[in-house]
């Protein structure tokens, strides 16, 4: 039974009917006892009334008086065992029973018998138990008939109470069923009982989280679409410039520009994909012990060509050989982005310094450069997607630090921006070590 309403109504209906039946049984039993007591008393009174009358007339035997309602059968025997009187003809009647009350079973049913002995006569009053039962039942039914409308009324009230108590659930269901597929607005908990309002609160919290996730996805897609337009515009313009180029020199230059544009577009797409993969909603990466220094070496070799083209020196400080728990590829991308940024923003012939240190079970990766640094007011915003520090011309996608932040967040690492001794930006990444491995190696 899927409907809570129907289930509640049926259960309450069964309960009401059960209690009515119980009440009927109890009053029937009461009525039975009352009838027994009453009829026993009648029989006794009747027997006592008969003992003082001179009943030796055998005519009594045949005389038939109008019967009472309760089918008392009176029999009188003389002391020689001759039945001298019997009222009402019966095929089977109890024979002389013992003195006092007794119950006798005959073929035509059970009989209640009361007998007394008086002056050599035996007077016996008998009554069919069936008669008593019928009387008791009719008494019980009489006392019971108000139960039926009361039960029906109770049933109706139960129906109404259940329906009205469940109406907020119905409304919520209706509300959810009739909203747009993209509507994640919270469900109103107006008039909702406390038990259900907990459920509604949980539902709303889930809807809220869904809406946030959806909104951030939509923002990301809108931002990404917007950001992709710039390199695409550049590409389109570069291509048109190329077709317009009149001489060989102009054509060569245009081809070089076009290559730059293609590189920029592919870099942006790569970074968008990297960021999308680090999205908190996507599946978590496999967590395994990763040697941070190995990630760093890979990252340095990735950035090597750019560094040498700008004649930037990458200087390694102390590099502790420590493993952290996480995804090697993600950590490599994080470190590469940091070094790439440092190399890009360092001036020609500048310096980038990298170190990995270990202290109190925390690993600290430091990347410093001799560039212009990031002003205090911009330090919070540089982690936003597509945010570029005003005045910078390195042509970045504005995603590098957003990716760093996303990867750091997934690895429970903190990113801190500060001022470097080299004059530029200093980025510290703090994360916990995977195991208590503290063997320090000499600078690589």
């Amino acid at each position: 039974m899927r409907s809570l309403r129907i289930r509640l109504i049926l259960l309450l209906g069964v309960a009401i009917m059960g209690s009515a039946a119980l009440q009927f049984a109890v009053s029937l039993r009461e009525a039975m006892q009352e009838a027994n007591k009453l009829f026993d008393y009648h029989m006794k009174q009747m027997a006592f009334a008969l003992k003082d009358t001179g009943l030796d007339d055998t005519e009594w035997y045949t005389s038939s008086k109008p019967s009472t309602n309760f089918d008392f059968v009176i029999q009188i025997w003389s002391d020689d065992g001759v039945r001298v009187f019997q009222r009402r003809p019966y095929l089977f009647l109890p024979q002389q029973a013992e003195v006092g009350f007794s119950t006798v079973s005959l073929n035509n049913g059970d009989w209640r018998v009361y007998a007394i002995e008086h002056q050599a006569r035996r007077i016996q009053v008998a009554q069919k138990m069936e008669t008593r039962r019928d009387r008791a039942i009719s008494l019980a039914v009489h006392s019971l008939w108000p139960i039926i409308p009361v039960s029906l009324l109770l049933f109706a009230v139960a129906w109404w109470v259940v329906t009205s108590a469940l109406s907020p659930l119905n409304r919520i269901g209706h509300d959810l069923a009739h909203r747009n597929a993209d509507s994640l607005a919270p469900v109103s908990d107006e008039g909702v009982p406390r038990e259900v309002s907990l459920l509604v609160a949980e539902l709303n919290s889930l809807l809220g989280r869904m809406a946030n996730a959806l909104r951030s996805q939509q923002h990301f897609v809108a931002d990404a679409a917007h950001e992709l337009r710039s390199p695409l515009t550049a590409l389109k313009l570069q291509l048109q410039t190329l077709t317009r180029a009149k001489d060989e020199a102009a054509r060569t230059q245009a081809v070089a520009r076009l290559q730059g544009g293609v590189e920029r577009a592919s870099r942006l797409v790569e970074q968008l994909l990297a960021l999308a993969r680090q999205d908190p909603l996507s599946d978590s990466p496999p967590q395994a012990p990763v040697r941070l220094s190995a990630c760093m070496e890979n990252a340095i070799s990735d950035v090597g060509p750019l560094a040498s083209s700008r004649n930037v020196e990458i200087r390694l400080g102390d590099v502790a050989d420590i493993s952290v728990s996480g995804n090697a590829e993600a950590l490599r991308i994080m470190i590469r982005n940091l070094i790439d940024n440092a190399v890009r923003y360092a001036p020609h012939d500048g310096t980038v310094a990298i170190a990995i240190s270990f202290e109190n079970a925390r690993v600290m990766l430091t990347v410093e450069d001799s560039g212009p640094g990031i002003s205090e007011e911009n330090r919070l915003r540089v982690f936003d997607r597509f945010y570029r520090v005003p005045g910078t011309s390195a042509g970045g996608s504005g995603l590098g630090l957003a990716i760093v932040k996303a990867i750091a967040d997934r690895h429970d690492a903190t990113v801190h921006l500060g001022h470097s001794r080299l004059g530029g930006l200093k980025v510290d990444i703090m994360m916990s070590a995977a195991m208590a491995e503290t063997s320090e190696s000499a600078p690589a």
Binding site: H226, E227, R229, S230, P231, L232, T233, A234, L235, K236, L237, Q238, Q240, T241, R244, R257, G260, G261, R264, R388, V389, P390, G391, T392, S393, G395
Partner: protein, 219 residues
């Protein structure tokens, strides 16, 4: 024609500069809103090509500031923001035209010409003086139904002169029309191009007002 390009994207700016340069349009290129403000305060332009997504001062802000101080230089907003509300916002802020990235160079140039023509108020864009007929829209110069070929520099000077017939343009003004900030101005370049124009269109076509500059006759 001389325009101000406000564009922070180096690759896009570079290519617009090359393309407009090839069309004989002088171009000043700035990368942010504050530099654009400075340029607008010191120079006059035929049009502004304004990227709306600028670092520092936003393009819309710049546009509003221009219109507030009654600077009526025609502005073409160039942006990647393509939704209708964004376009409406740009036009309401005072843009005269709107170009969505990515765009074609051809379209950019055609719209730029249309914009400047509209701003000058001569929709037929034809200047006639004797046998000489200059069509600014098609960039055709005819003498008695015979087409005259001009270099892009010569055309730039002619275009500036016929835009306001009867007005005297100083050598400096013409140089500004001819080169963006990036161009090297040779000392006698204007004289050389005027000489070329006179050779092709007749000695009396460009009038030298001694000490003041050059003009074409008002027809």
């Amino acid at each position: 024609m001389k325009i101000l390009l406000v564009e922070d994207d180096v690759m896009i700016g570079e290519n617009i500069q090359i393309a407009l340069d090839g069309e004989g349009i002088a171009i000043d290129w700035v990368r942010d809103g504050n530099a654009a403000d400075a340029a607008l305060a010191t120079q006059t332009y035929d049009a502004v090509l304004l990227d709306l997504g600028l670092p520092g001062k936003d393009g819309i802000e710049l546009l509003r500031a221009m219109r507030t101080r009654s600077d009526s230089t025609p502005v073409m907003a160039v942006t990647a923001r393509d939704t209708v509300p964004e376009r409406v916002l740009g036009l309401k802020a005072g843009a005269d035209d709107y170009l969505i990235k990515p765009f074609d160079l051809e379209e950019l140039i055609a719209r730029l010409h249309a914009l400047v023509r509209r701003a000058r108020g001569n929709t037929d864009s034809v200047y006639r003086n004797g046998e000489v007929l200059v069509n600014a829209a098609t960039r055709q110069v005819m003498i008695a139904d015979r087409q005259v070929m001009l270099s892009s520099r010569e055309w730039a000077i002619l275009d500036a002169l016929v835009a306001r017939p009867g007005a005297i343009l100083s050598r400096t003004q013409l140089e500004e029309r001819l080169y963006g900030w990036a161009g090297d101005v040779e000392s006698n370049a204007i004289e050389v191009y005027i000489h070329g124009l006179r050779k092709k269109l007749g000695q009396q076509f460009v009038i030298n007002v001694r000490g003041l500059g050059y003009m074409v006759e008002k027809n």
